[in-house]
Symmetry: C2
Subunit: 160 residues, 2 copies
């Protein structure tokens, strides 16, 4: 698998993966019917640094790296990851996570924060813990899960 | 003091208060030189519900009430408050806080969350605790305070 900067030419695959990921309503707050333009803006909008991961068949996931806040909070990074559901188990999430931490250090961020990791996304929570993140906040019933009802979300953080 | 919906005619006072509040770099991540257009967009932009509080001399503060997240997280409200530094001690913050909780209930939100309360803003933290908020997260060194260096910020939450 290789990771490279995303370009406008990746828009179709990014949309396809985005749409598949949000369809289940179990990890992202995006509604299942989120339009293509919102998905493209989220990953390829102005000022957003994003990367894609490819295997021999093409792009199977993407991530973006942005300041978590403006101005006096912009030393903390935020990132967002999606992997094609049909490509789970290949380690794409972990590979992108490690790549993202390196890119964030290179960009001069001092920490990384995820604002909304759905607590029932156990694979995601476990991956971020493996990569050095801690749960620093619990948002009670903050996510309206498609099948489980209102469940907690975590704020996860690590210094770089 | 009275609280009423903000209108475009309040833009000058909103800008003046915004500019005074961010000048000290001790409570908001906005840089002290944040331009007027950003301030106006923050409080009076499309889809943003906002109110001003007035005393006999005119507007002394304002707040906005928005969904904290889109889609599957939009049942949780977020709000943001500013009081003219020259009007501190009159109870404007508390009055707006109580008004905001009522408006959030009326709008159907089930909880309210503040994502970034600077830990050294002791008056703010104390006010929100009095109004029923709890600290549900601590973001280490997340705020670059103008005089104190990097200090923690809190995530505060209450159900409605």
């Amino acid at each position: 698998m290789t990771i490279r900067p995303a370009t406008a030419a990746d828009a179709d695959r990014i949309w396809s993966i985005f749409h598949a990921v949000v369809a289940d309503g179990d990890t992202y707050t995006f509604l299942p019917d989120t339009p293509r333009a919102d998905a493209i803006a989220y990953f390829l909008g102005p000022g957003i640094a994003s990367w894609v991961i490819e295997d021999e068949g093409g792009v199977i996931g993407m991530y973006k790296l942005v300041p978590n806040r403006i101005g006096l909070g912009s030393h903390v990074a935020n990132a967002s990851f999606m992997v094609d559901p049909s490509a789970h188990g290949k380690g794409a999430g972990r590979a992108m996570g490690e790549h993202c931490l390196d890119e964030a250090r290179r960009a001069g961020y001092t920490a990384m924060q995820f604002n909304f990791v759905v607590s029932t996304n156990t694979a995601g929570v476990a991956l971020w813990k493996k990569l050095g993140f801690q749960i620093v906040g619990t948002l009670p019933k903050a996510f309206r899960h498609a099948t489980l009802g209102d469940v907690d979300a975590y704020v996860m953080h690590r210094f770089l």
